[in-house]
Symmetry: D2
């Protein structure tokens, strides 16, 4: 089973440029994370955006939708900033016949302590097992974007009760 990774930016890919004393979205970290995890399944990585998810526009979301829909692969992991991950996930629910899992991280993958590897591992297991549909893999749980949200105060995802 081949997995396609589409990367859009977000905290998971943030790097630090000292020369500007700023923190910016860098190249996708997925490739390095998979190499370090000694992943042995077939995969392909494509960077389609490099943005903080708060900066994603409707046009960006349309682009993500079209790239996922057009992709020949039926198992797709989208790495994404957490702030609007739910919004993008909902924009993908019209796509049928594909298992699509969105994930990201609360701390950049380059940090010594980060949830990036853990979330990526969960997303990869989920995308291989779940039936077609759109899912969020965060905090060790699998969420249905139709009835979940990011709890900004607690810095985690949760179901809407």
């Amino acid at each position: 089973m081949k997995i396609k990774f589409l990367t859009t930016g977000g905290t998971i890919d943030k790097v630090y440029f000292d020369s500007k004393s700023e923190y910016e979205v860098g190249p996708p970290q997925v490739a390095e994370l998979l190499r370090e995890a000694n992943a042995t399944f077939e995969y392909e990585i494509e960077s389609i955006l490099r943005k903080d998810s708060l900066d994603l526009t409707d046009a960006d979301r349309a682009l993500i939708h079209d790239r996922v829909a057009a992709d020949p692969c039926s198992h797709i992991v989208v790495t994404h900033g957490t702030d609007t991950m739910i919004l993008t996930a909902r924009a993908l629910t019209s796509i049928s016949g594909k298992t699509i899992v969105l994930t990201g991280s609360m701390q950049p993958a380059r940090f010594r302590v980060t949830d990036a590897e853990f979330n990526l591992g969960a997303a990869i297991a989920a995308v291989q097992i779940l039936p077609p549909g759109v899912y969020i893999a965060m905090n060790g749980r699998i969420f249905d974007p139709a009835c979940s949200r990011k709890n900004v105060a607690n810095n985690c995802f949760e179901e809407i009760s």
Copy 2:
């Protein structure tokens, strides 16, 4: 859904004691890994053995079997050394009505570069989604212990063709 972690030792839990210039199985790393990953599901961790998996005896495997079988939780992750993980997994296949996922790592969780978080994330997603049965989560894949093995030369798990 509550997940029970039963830890048995293995590389994932190896620490380094400089005073003896040796590398030994330490306390379970799962608790710290889950905290760092900001896991929000309900869980419980129990350490039942602290051994290199090459040192596990038939009695140890019987103990693991009995603890898994007796546990009230129906979703169980067993952390385990990789060398005999398949053997222990096969010893658990007689247990019905539970989803059991074994995982571990090739590099200790305390290393800067390790597959521990990634494998744990994959195991946790798998144990929540898969139907009752026994599975191995390693290298970003889900294996059936009946037809898989550790490829020692390539340092990864693979299907027996």
Copy 3:
């Protein structure tokens, strides 16, 4: 010999707040770095500012000067952002009878790959050995602030030739 650490912020202390998708100066990392390095000398840590060094004002520099001058300890390490480290160092040269070493890092201490521990180790050795005066410890070298600068393009300190 007792060493006093005065922390002023800078990249070394930067943390990431996912809730704001921003990167800010957090609490001083020196305490944790010294604990992890198993440091056994006598020391005291005092946080006097928490700023990006580009944001330091003349009043801030006067404050740093006064705190260093008034400190009873004669061996002082100042952690500081790199962009104006030279400027602050020069503002301290009027203080006599104390060995003062400024250091910081190009990558935050919380990153997996960072120069923070290395620079701190160098600063600590330097402050114990060097005669009274003001020094910069960066890139594995000891600089005289009177004739050195930060090379922003190369992201390192260098002598002015």
Copy 4:
């Protein structure tokens, strides 16, 4: 000023071979540590032994002595296991006209939490500043090997009172 690094093995260079479930002395970590620290001084690295320091023989110590003595560089850092670091340092005291600093680490450089970068930074500052002689840089302190020892119980170096 050029610094020569002579590596002899020890905990600092230990890696983990999962295929053997063992922990062994690997290639010298100094090169990677210096690259990560963005070191800008001139240096050269030479691996002369790859041993746990408990396994060093008199012949090994004679070899280290001869290599240090013959080296054209007058500023030398020797990375070394901690258990017999003092012994090797004492064997080098007959060499005149060179500043020689021995260092190593209590936790392997490849660990997420390690004293390797910190100790290396301290050794590098010390070797540039100190007059000719033989020194130990550990725990953020500079020791005279004639009157210091490793305290195995406390896992640190200390002066002999």
